[in-house]
Each structure stands twice: as structure tokens, then as C-alpha cells.
Point group: C2
Chain length 333, copies 2
Amino acid sequence: MRATVKDVARRAGVSPKTVSNVMNGIVPVSGPTRLRVEQAMAELDYVPNLSARGLRNGRSGVIGLALPDLATPFSAEIAQSIVEVAHEQGFSVQIEETGSDPHREHELMTRARANLIDGLILNPVVLKESAVQVGVALPPVVLLGEVTQRLADRVFVDSFAAARDMTLALARPGRRRIAVLGVNRGRQSATAIQRADGYKAALQMLGIAQDESLLISCDSWTPASAAVSLAEYLDANPLPEALFCFTDSMAIGALNTLWKRGVHVPDDIAVAGFDDVIDGRFAVPSLTTVSFDKRAIATEAMRLLTERMSDRAHGQRLVEIEYTIVERDSSRA
Amino acid sequence: MRATVKDVARRAGVSPKTVSNVMNGIVPVSGPTRLRVEQAMAELDYVPNLSARGLRNGRSGVIGLALPDLATPFSAEIAQSIVEVAHEQGFSVQIEETGSDPHREHELMTRARANLIDGLILNPVVLKESAVQVGVALPPVVLLGEVTQRLADRVFVDSFAAARDMTLALARPGRRRIAVLGVNRGRQSATAIQRADGYKAALQMLGIAQDESLLISCDSWTPASAAVSLAEYLDANPLPEALFCFTDSMAIGALNTLWKRGVHVPDDIAVAGFDDVIDGRFAVPSLTTVSFDKRAIATEAMRLLTERMSDRAHGQRLVEIEYTIVERDSSRA
DNA sequence: GTCTCACATTACATCGTTGTAATAGGGAGG
DNA sequence: CCTCCCTATTACAACGATGTAATGTGAGAC
């Protein structure tokens, strides 16, 4: 049986409340008493029961992190940052997978407190404005990403501008037939739309006519799906001069397809991704990408979340994270 | 304020216990009463307080998952499988990162219950036999991996045999100078030792003399570390005929280094990894690797864990997961 | 020696849920 | 019409920790 405050108190010859006071350090405890209690705790290998504490305090010390697809390297890097930052602040992280299912996203968002968590960091894909009614009190939630949602706090990268800049960078050496991979992700995701819009804006700036046949769709944003989509595309279309994939994961799948067909990157076609995941840096050839500080995302998300949990941070707050275009071998002219 | 059973009970005109009975479905409740209660729950948007339930039942419905490095694709894939399997069984997953720190591994293992979790799935790196005294009651714990630990349940792949078979496969076309990458991971990890031993056993079977200069060490099992280690190695040593990396992540780093130096894979050197992560399948060239069913690992780990949580599963139980050698382009003769 | 005052410590109630044991209600059987 | 019994429902306590308010203890001042 596990020791409780009661057991520790009995052993130390004090009341349970004193034991509690020693742990929490808010109410002062005299030196000798504190020592006796601490020794008793050590002897009994006392560990507080967080369920009881959570019940009493209304706080569990756990936050939720919900991502669309846990298997991707991007998710892994985000999860790592969040876990580490949360840990520094004394929080544990409960992890959830939404599978890009709007029902699940909505459920997690509105029911957050159900799951024994004090707040939620959610990377939504399809969550719509309409999904959450105005006026309904939201639990503490911070969204990650580009979704438009006027109620919850949000940390994001300007996907439109980043995609535009990447397109411009790909075009710089005179490339004009620039394709994108990743439009039409089942239901259109906010991310896909913004990146596609940024791409189109760049074309316009460059005076390049839009060509629908350069928009390559991809059902799921995975290497496998990207590899297949690109292969099918190349069977029916001429090789573009550049390929901008909306995630590094898709770019990795694309590089494999190109390599299998003997297409040389970057000489025959330049390739770029988005996210700057570790495996992209070590892709062959190493991948040009949109880079941003994932630790900063985690830090900002945790800051917004803790502020909202602790008091009344009013209104929606938006934090934009800087991005940079990192040119690597996959697009060297 | 959030609704409680009391509120629901008042609204439905019944006692709190009846509401509880409706939810848990163990004690029978008459049709009309059940309906009234269900309607009241819906109207109040009632969500049970899991802290209170956890306190009362001694169960939180949360399990812990502790991995050495959350940023790796391998961790991501394992985490995904565990989360999905756990979810099917009604558990949530709290995720932890050990950073391969033995203190943290030990702390998580012995203090499991502290963290509001019912059990722990731990992928240890350096955990030693001595770290946990015999006789001390362990909380429900399942270890993942090759570590030798005689007390806790464990799910593992036979790394020795897999490394041996992979080495034999690499040698089949007559390759004799086979290097390994990943020995000496700071403190030697059980995984590194077993894979190195398997490699050595294969050399012996093949009648190839061991050559210490073919053991390439690598501080951390990441692409970055592997890329650097291999580059330094190649500066000082001739090119081996084959390179067996102890993880796919390291292999991805190695492929990048080889490509940068204009070394052609597999013509100049064959490369293989271990883990069969998604990005390895789409590496350039696609990566030969040791494959195993990560979903099976998750399923077995959850089975062992739930059995141990629910009653007295006596003694240590070991579950071995099958592996296969998957030859892809990186080692085609 | 008595009275204050400040401070350490304690008793009690409470958080929300659920097992236990007791109660109420209703129908069947005599 | 009364008893008995079975079932649905209820009252109460308990899980473990902690805020509140009350109590106890000592030193210091007169």
C-alpha cells in the first residue's frame, strides 16, 4: 500500500496538514518539524497522489497536446519541444492524435477539461470557424498553425508569405514552370490553402501565368502519398523546372520518386519543402525548406496557455513565429 | 462552473448515485430514470471529473510512455502505435522524454504511480540490472527493447540475431569489409552491445577476421551525429564495402555524407539501417533495414501492461517480436 | 506573575465520484 | 388485505490533499 500524508504525519508525530505545509512551502513550518517530516517522507518513500491533489486544487498539472499524425517527424519535433518546455514549467504532457478528423478536433477542443488536463495545445487541420460557437466559454486552448479561428489563442507561421518567398526563391535562377505538391488535402486544409495562395501570389509578382496543371494534389501529407502522387503526375505530364512540396515529408517522398526515375535534383528539377525537419537536412540531396524555430513555437504556446489558465487573458492573442528560407542542395542553381 | 453529478442529479430529480449508476452501467437503472438522467447530462453538458474518479477508483486511465529522444522518427512511430492501441482500450497516454539519462529512467520506473499514471511503458537505454533492487515492488512497468533487466516485463526484438542476419545479408554478394556505425554510444547501451555482438558473430560465421578499424562510434544516435562521425572516419580510413548503421536515423545521416562525397550507394558501398522508419523507405537510395511490426510492439506492450495493472501477473514475462531483413536499393548488389 | 501578540500547528470540511449497506416501492402470493 | 421478496434507489462514507478558521505555545512587556 502506498503511503499517504496521514502515514507520514503519524510517523513524524504531526498532523496531516503540517505535512502538506512542508510540501507546499506556503505556510511556514519550523526547522525541526520540517526535518522530521522530510525524514518521514523519505523513509516511507512518500509520493503525493496527484488525483487527490488535482481534485482539491482543480488542477492536474497536465496539458494536452493534439496533433494530426503522430508518426511524422514534424510531429515528433513539435512534441519534443512542447514536452521539454512544459516540463521546465512543471507540466506533464498528455498526447492525442486527431487524424485530421474534425469531430475529434472539436471534441478535444470543447471537452478539454474532461480529460484530466488543464489546457490544450491543438494543431488543427480542418477546424472551421463555425465549429465553435461564439459565446461558448472555451477551456484554455492554444492553436498551432494557420487555421482561421477567431476565438482561441494561436501561434503560427505566416504560411502565405513563406510560400510566396519560397516560390520566389525557386524562380530566381529563371525557373518558370514551378509545380506545387500538396494541394487538395481531402477537405482543403487552411494550411494548404494559404501555401497555395502564397505560391499563386508569387507567380503573379513574377508575371508567370498560372497553370492549373502544375498543382499536384496529394491526399495525405505523407512521403508515401507524395511519392505516388508525383509518380502518377509525371506519367502524364512533362517535368516541371521546380517542385515546391508543402511539407518536408512530402518532399522526401518526392525526392525518392525522382531518384527512382533517374531525374537529377537539382539539375533537372529543383525541389523544396516546408518545416525544416531533421531528416530533410540529411535528405539526398539535402532539402531546401522553410525553416522556423520549433522551440519558439513551444515556448510561445506554453506561455499563452499558462497565462490563460492562470487568469483572465482577454480576447484572442496571436503570436507569429519568424521563418527563413533555407537554401540547400536540392535547389542550388 | 462545471456541472457535477450533483447538478445532474438535482435536474433529473434523482440521487447522485443514480447518475453514477447510469454512467457506469454496472448497477441496473430503470428505463425512464435512465432517460431522465441522460437528458439532464446532455442539457448540462456534463463531463465527469477524472481527478475525482481517479481518486475514488485508484485509477487514472492514463499510462506513461517514456522514450529516450522524442524527436526521432522511430520514437514518433512507436508513440503513434502506443497512443492508438491505448486509445482503443480506453487509456490516454502521457509522454515523457528520458534523454537516455539513467537517473530519469530510474525515477520514472520506480515513481511511476506518482505521475498520475496507472502504468509505464519505458524504452530504456542505459538502465542497469542494478538500478532496481530485487524485492522492491515495481509499479506496473513494461520495458521496450534489449536492456537486460530481470524484474520487469519486456517486449523486444532479438537485436543480436537481427544484426547477425543483416550482416550476413550485406556479405552475401561477397562483401568482406563491412563496417558498423553506432558503437560506443557514450555509456554503452544494451542495444548497441547486442547489435555489435550480432555483427561480430556473423563475421565469425563468415570466417572474416575482425577489424577494429571497421567499428565506427557515434555519440548520439542521430543523423547529425552519424553524418559527422562517418565523415571523420572517411577522412582517415579507406571506404568499406558495406556500412551497417545501428538505426535508420544514423543511416540517413550516413547516406547524406556519402552523397556529399560523391560516393555512390550501393555501387561503391552498400548501406543498411535498423528500425524501418518511414523516411528510410523514401531515402535516396531507399534503405535496406531490419523491419518489425511497431503496432505489434504496442499491442503486446499494452497487453502486458493491462494484465499487470489489473491483477497479479506473476514473474517476468518476455515477448519477442519477429523481425525481417528488408533489402532495398541501398544494398542491391 | 499575568497579559499580549505572533506564530506554528491543528481540526474540520471540502473537492467529485462511487462502493456499501440500508431503504423504499411495488408486485405477487396467500 | 397483509406479508414477503425482489429490485430500483438512496444515504453515507471514503478516496488523499489542502484551505479556512480555530487552537495551542512561547516569548516579551508591563
